[in-house]
Structure formats: structure tokens, C-alpha cells
């Protein structure tokens, strides 16, 4: 693999790491979701960079486009769940969601 691929892998890993840290550490429900979006960016960056490194850009783009469509549906569903949660707990704090023992 060309050296530039490793550069993109580096940044993609940075995005994934930041997103995962935020997912574990943050409490606001909407902020948790922004963290998921950041993870999504890391993943799509990796996909396009891989396509670029292989010269297979078209296939990679087709995959990224589909990935983004999936992301939109996911965001819509998740935000609908979050809005419903606030109707119950009147709060966006994930610590209020502690009724189930896990």
C-alpha cells in the first residue's frame, strides 16, 4: 500500500479514537450522537482513502455513498428516540437513563 494510505489511516484512527472517547465520557444525549457522527467520518475517510490508494475510487465512492445514506436513516431514528426520551425524563442526561440494570 502506498505511503499516503498510512497518512489517511492515521487521521482516520484519530477521528475514531476521539469519537470513542467521547462516547464513553460524555453525558449529553445529543453530544453522544455527535460522537457517533465523528466515528462515521473516520470510517468514510478510511474507505475513500483506501479506494484512492488502490486506484479503485469508483467502487469506494459507491460504498461511501451507501454508507452515508445508512447514516442518515440511523440519525433520523436515533434523534427520534432521543426526542421521545426527553418527553419522559425532561432531560438530556444519559445518567438519568439508569433504570435498567444492564
Amino acid at each position: 500500500m502506498t505511503n499516503t494510505w498510512y497518512l489517511y489511516l492515521f487521521f482516520s484512527a484519530a477521528l475514531l479514537g476521539a469519537g470513542l472517547y467521547a462516547l464513553l465520557a460524555k453525558r449529553n444525549l445529543v453530544r453522544l450522537f455527535i460522537a457517533i457522527e465523528v466515528i462515521g467520518k473516520g470510517v468514510s475517510l478510511l474507505l475513500v482513502a483506501t479506494g484512492f490508494a488502490k486506484g479503485n475510487l469508483l467502487a469506494a465512492q459507491a460504498m461511501v455513498v451507501t454508507y452515508i445514506v445508512i447514516e442518515v436513516s440511523l440519525v433520523a431514528t436515533a434523534l427520534a428516540i432521543i426526542i421521545n426520551i426527553t418527553r419522559h425524563t425532561k432531560s438530556l442526561d444519559v445518567r438519568k437513563l439508569a433504570r435498567l440494570k444492564g
Partner: protein, 160 residues
């Protein structure tokens, strides 16, 4: 190369800001800027379709959805984030980046790859004819999203 690296650093910077900014609306906008930068990175790599999609859908549509949610949950009480997590993050991130860079340096040239042949066709052909099942999947996931929103926002009738 310099421009590209600068854009990548900007991408990571704005993404981190998006998660750590206190005001949610500023966070959403920061996320939109990060998406914009990612779209530009895609363009410069030659992936114009992915770039267009990233900018119009992620920087556009998803940001709108976020701002909509923030507006609809405005009446919820403030959430105090853990100060400890905020303080630890810079340290964690620097260590993470350092390990990341070392791992990448170590992996240089280590991952084997088959040489790939030239790619044929246009993007349209590749998507519509080459990966048609993806489109069926896209339709399915859009249906799932639409029905989810319909189900989660339905009116509860009194006799249900």
C-alpha cells in the same frame, strides 16, 4: 500534500470541537464545518461524488436534523458534563496520536496488497450496474428510517 494535511488536521480539530463545545448549536455547526472539510478532502482525492454527497447530505441534511432536535429538546434541563473527562481528554488525545503515529510508522509497507487493475466505467455504471444490490439496500434502509420516525412520533389514541 501540504494542503491535504492541513485539511485533515482541520477535520480532526473541528470534529473534536464538535464533541467538546459546550453550546450544542455551536457543536452542530462545528460538525458541519468538519463535514465540509471532509468533502473538500474527498474532492482533492478525486472522489467528487463522495465529496458532493458528504457536503450536501452530512453537512447539510444531518446538521439540519441535529439543529431540529436541539430546538425540540430546548426545554430539557442543562446537562453538566464531567469536568474530569474534559481535563483528561487533551492528555489522552496526545498519547493516542503519539501511539497512532508510531503504529503507522511501524506498519509502513507492511500491509501487503494485490496490485489492482484499472477501473472501468463511469460512476453511474459502477453504482447502478456494478453494485445494484447496494441500491436495494439503500431503499430498504430509507424505508426503515421513514417507518421508524413514523412509529416513534405516532399519536397515541385513547383507545389503544
Amino acid at each position: 500534500m501540504i494542503v491535504q494535511t492541513a485539511l485533515l488536521i482541520g477535520l480532526v480539530l473541528f470534529s473534536v470541537l464538535a464533541v467538546f463545545l459546550k453550546d450544542l448549536i455551536r457543536a452542530a455547526i462545528s460538525l458541519a464545518v468538519a463535514s465540509l472539510l471532509l468533502g473538500i478532502i474527498f474532492f482533492r482525492l478525486g472522489a467528487s461524488y463522495a465529496g458532493v454527497f458528504e457536503i450536501s447530505v452530512v453537512a447539510g441534511l444531518i446538521t439540519v436534523l441535529f439543529i431540529l432536535t436541539i430546538a425540540l429538546t430546548n426545554k430539557a434541563e442543562e446537562v453538566r458534563e464531567s469536568r474530569l473527562a474534559n481535563v483528561i481528554f487533551p492528555l489522552f488525545f496526545v498519547v493516542f496520536i503519539a501511539i497512532d503515529a508510531l503504529v503507522m510508522k511501524g506498519l509502513l509497507q507492511k500491509i501487503p496488497a494485490l496490485p489492482s487493475g484499472p477501473e472501468s466505467g463511469t460512476f453511474g455504471e459502477v453504482l447502478w450496474k456494478g453494485r445494484t444490490l447496494d441500491l436495494v439496500g439503500q431503499i430498504a434502509v430509507i424505508l426503515a428510517g421513514v417507518f421508524s420516525v413514523l412509529a416513534l412520533f405516532r399519536k397515541r389514541d385513547k383507545h389503544d
